[in-house]
Amino acid sequence: MEDFEDNEFDGPIKKFMYVNRKAPYGTVYALEGLEVVLITAAFDQDVCLVFVDDGVFQIKKDQETTGINMKNFSPTYRALEGYDVEKIYVEKESLESRGFSEDDLVIPVEILSSAEISELMDAQDVIVTF
């Protein structure tokens, strides 16, 4: 992970939503997306993380990546709480359509309906999708 810069920024607090839609390992977006989330938290912004569509696969338990020779970064999701990123939401429909449940996930999350996620998106100042 990148070293955090000194936060000399003394500006407003905005609502940042990071939308994760992609599975891990097949592409880099999940890993590099997570780095942005951590940096944003270091800037004391109001961060929430949303997992929809294949993004729910990012937080699946029991990832073992030795065979594909890639870094298993799923433990990093557990570090989010330490960075005050506690608003972590998963879309119910995305989870269920993939045959998953909350028990499959590596961290505690709040499960929201599509309508609730919609409302949440509408309330954001900045939305970044990886």
């Binding site: 939308v19 839609r21 977006y29 929809v52 569509d53 879309e91 429909e93 599509s114 996620i117 919609s118 409302e119 998106m121 509408d122 309330a123 954001q124 100042d125 900045v126 939305i127 999708t129 990886f130």
Partner: protein, 102 residues
């Protein structure tokens, strides 16, 4: 607060537009850009999903991307508005935030 959503993938390659429509609130707008403009075509296997939300969501497509793909003479979904890059900028200004469906 209403969002502008952008979709840049053809509905026949990757069904991002479906995912977007599932989460786009009434009153929001969807702008089709790049390969996403194929979703603007009328009478395809993908068009019903879009026309169902006509009236509650405003649909736009980027004109230069339509022309680039030779779709100017084709019928587009009723009610969809073409914009150029300036129009794209205006939409971003008009709506409270942008959600790019990547």
């Amino acid at each position: 607060m209403a969002l502008l959503h952008t979709v840049n993938k053809s509905p026949f390659e990757r069904n991002v537009i479906s995912d977007c429509l599932r989460l786009a609130k009434d009153g929001s707008a969807i702008l089709l850009i790049e390969d996403g403009v194929y979703a603007a075509l009328e009478g395809t296997s993908a068009s019903d999903e879009i026309t169902r939300r006509n009236g509650s969501i405003k649909f736009f497509a980027l004109g230069p991307d339509i022309e680039a793909r030779g779709l100017s003479e084709k019928s587009l979904i009723e009610g969809l508005t073409l914009v150029d890059y300036s129009g794209f900028v205006d939409l971003v200004e008009e709506y409270s935030s942008v959600q790019s469906w990547l």
